[in-house]
């Protein structure tokens, strides 16, 4: 068994300063290997985006403190000096952000932005880099890539910009690509195409992909494994088939139910009552307890630790969950 490309242990992220500092991510631990697609699922406030950015220390600074271990190819990202970190970014770990329109420089041509990634790492010189940028735009399925490379971001459609962002992420052939809600801002007919693109890129380049999303349909589309986050912690991790068929954590089950949109007998959609807690409001006990239909007395006092399910899922992938009273039966 080869060592996974990414091994996260005990990752904790504190955001804000002084009295307003909150713990956005607590004690996160997971692995991702090459050729694998891991989906991190959660609502807003779950800490998933914070975790994603923490992997390359993008949210580190006066307003963000990271601790723990992020082993990429055996090297701890959190302990790298600035120079080594800069080298890692783009070439080792790359990110695709949610709002492609905002994430691209409005005053630079698309092709140049992609080429810059290669040039700053000394991988190529500008002329070569620009040519490679056109090749990347073709790889991500943009028609007329030579022409598109000379355009400014605002001259592209939403779907085209998202593809360009993916091309930018792939420019230096990273081992790990992190895509933060890559399809949320897109039309549904374009979403499926972008997901198909991501899947093919992962296979073709033998990369690892971490897909951040709140949409379970997206998870079911391409993910191999699922990691559910709630209030900054992992509440469940499972192989995707096992996750949808037999989740153990009540939150997972509630989310799956709410995702299959259908009116129940009383003419209403299934919902999860209440809303996720803000980081500063999390007390003792299980963070999901206030909203959990099957909470019991000890749920509000004891915080459940991650336990491993006795039987592993398909392909021998572990199934972990953090619940004192997990669900026993499979979903109907």
């Amino acid at each position: 068994m080869t060592t996974p490309l990414l091994q996260v242990r005990g990752l904790t992220a504190r955001l804000g300063t002084g009295a307003a500092q909150v713990t956005a991510v607590s004690d996160l631990g997971f692995d991702v290997g090459r050729g694998e697609i891991l989906a991190i699922v959660g609502e807003s406030g779950s800490g998933k985006t914070t975790a994603a950015m923490a992997l390359s220390r993008l949210n580190e600074g006066p307003g963000g403190q990271l601790s723990g271990q992020v082993l990429f190819d055996g090297v701890d990202v959190l302990s790298l000096n600035r120079r080594a970190l800069r080298t890692l970014r783009g070439q080792g770990i790359a990110m695709v952000f949610q709002d492609a329109r905002a994430a691209l420089n409005p005053c630079e041509r698309v092709g140049d932005q992609i080429a810059e990634a290669m040039v700053v790492h000394g991988a190529r010189r500008w002329t070569q880099a620009r040519r490679q940028a056109v090749a990347l735009l073709a790889e991500v399925g943009l028609p007329e890539p030579e022409r598109r490379a000379t355009l400014f971001p605002h001259e592209l459609s939403g779907g085209q910009m998202q593809r360009a962002m993916i091309a930018l992420g792939l420019a230096c052939d990273p081992g790990l690509l992190i895509a933060d809600e890559p399809t949320t801002a897109l039309d549904v007919t374009v979403q499926a195409q972008v997901l198909a693109l991501l899947k093919s890129v992962v296979a073709r380049r033998n990369m690892a992909l971490i897909l951040i999303t709140h949409d379970l349909g997206v998870v079911a589309s391409i993910a191999d494994r699922v990691l559910v986050m709630y209030a900054g912690r992992i509440v469940e991790e499972a192989e995707v088939g096992r996750f949808f068929a037999a989740p153990r954590h009540p939150y997972s089950r509630d989310m799956i139910r709410a995702a299959s949109i259908a009116l129940d007998a009383s003419g209403r959609l299934a919902t999860i009552p209440g809303r996720p807690p803000r980081p500063q409001d999390i007390g003792d006990g299980c963070a999901y307890a206030p909203r959990c239909a099957q909470r019991q007395a000890d749920c509000t006092t004891l915080r459940p630790a991650l336990t491993v399910h006795p039987t592993a899922g398909d392909a021998g992938l572990p199934h972990r969950f953090a619940c004192l009273h997990p669900i026993a039966e499979a979903l109907s």
């Binding site: 899947k199 998870v219 391409i222 949808f244 959609l269």
Partner: protein, 324 residues
């Protein structure tokens, strides 16, 4: 009451395009004929550029209508002057997509509501109480009156916007993507609220959304739009089960399901299909606007724009080769 509550007949909306010496305009909404029946929940679904928001605004005359006719409860409101339109507005209200910009950030919630109540002639002594009742109906407590919008989450702000829309006791509510900007767990809650309020008050509701799965679950009739045109109208379950228009079928097939087998098949199908974008509004294609992406386009599709006609399944479809 007989007849539809709201009716559009060949209504058209054009936007002027800046730049250039000649004045150019694009048809954001092609001549559209549509009835909204009393008490129904009509959904209008489409992606970006489909014209669904424009249609919603045209219904309430929030936009000038360049051609055709808009009738509300028997009154022709197409060319109605400002005063007359103002008098009708309390009966037709709108809920907007972005809860962060639809409320004045400098007005307390109570103030926002009492001002609306004052506008419809509620006596001063009763306004506060009515505001609190409205807030209770949308699931917020009376203390919200004293607070500013920034103290509330997106979902709560949308509830306040709903309360404000209900303050005038309208007959018709047009909700333009009311939950798209909200967290997923809150979306269903707000939708449920709208469904409850509709039932309690006997409202007529037009629900605009890009989410075909959502609208086919909650609406009675669904109207599918593409490129400023209605391409299909029908009963919600028919649209979901047996769509007549190729675009509707494409929408249906593209929605990622929370089911591994189905979702994987969707992605596999998408990877086989080509990449295509919306045609240009400045240079609209001849004939059917969808033909550049349609797997079954033929010669006639390029020559003649299909009209919206009844089809075998019971609804209306604008296609030369409707699906079974």
């Amino acid at each position: 009451m007989t007849g539809p509550l709201l009716s559009l007949h060949d209504a058209t909306v054009r936007y002027a395009v800046p730049g250039g010496w000649r004045a150019r305009s694009i048809a954001a909404l092609a001549p559209t004929t549509l009835d909204v029946h009393q008490g129904e929940l009509l959904a209008i679904v489409g992606e970006s550029g489909s014209g669904k928001s424009t249609l919603g605004r045209a219904m309430l005359r929030l936009l000038p209508v360049a051609g055709g006719k808009v009738t509300f409860d028997g009154t022709d409101i197409t060319g109605l002057g400002r005063a007359a339109l103002s008098a009708l507005r309390p009966r037709m209200q709108m809920i907007f997509q972005d809860p962060y910009s639809s409320l004045n950030p400098n007005k307390t919630v109570g103030r926002a509501l009492t001002e609306v109540l004052a506008h419809v002639g509620v006596p001063r002594a009763e306004r506060r109480e009515r505001a609190e009742t409205l807030l209770a109906q949308v699931g917020l407590d009376a203390q919200a009156c004293a607070r500013l919008p920034r103290a509330f989450s997106g979902g709560q702000r949308q509830r306040i916007a709903i309360a404000r829309a209900l303050a005038t006791d309208p007959d018709l509510i047009v909700a333009d993507e009311p939950v798209s900007a909200l967290d997923v767990s809150v979306q269903a809650q707000v939708v449920n609220l709208l469904l409850d309020l509709k039932a309690q008050r006997g409202l007529t509701m037009v629900f605009i959304s890009h989410d075909l799965g959502l609208v086919t679950a909650i609406a009675q009739r669904v109207c599918v739009m593409y490129f400023g045109r209605i391409v299909e109208i029908g009963l919600a379950d028919k649209i979901a089960a047996r769509p007549a228009h190729p675009y509707t079928a494409m929408l249906n097939d593209s929605v990622p399901q929370p089911d591994v087998v189905a979702a994987r098949a969707t992605v596999a199908a998408a990877s086989r299909a080509g990449v295509a974008d919306l045609p240009s509004l400045l240079n609209p294609p001849t004939g059917c606007a969808f033909r550049s992406r349609c797997p079954q386009a033929t010669g006639i599709c390029a020559q003649q724009e299909p009209g919206l006609v009844p089809h075998a399944g019971g609804g209306l479809v604008a296609c030369h080769h409707p699906l079974a």
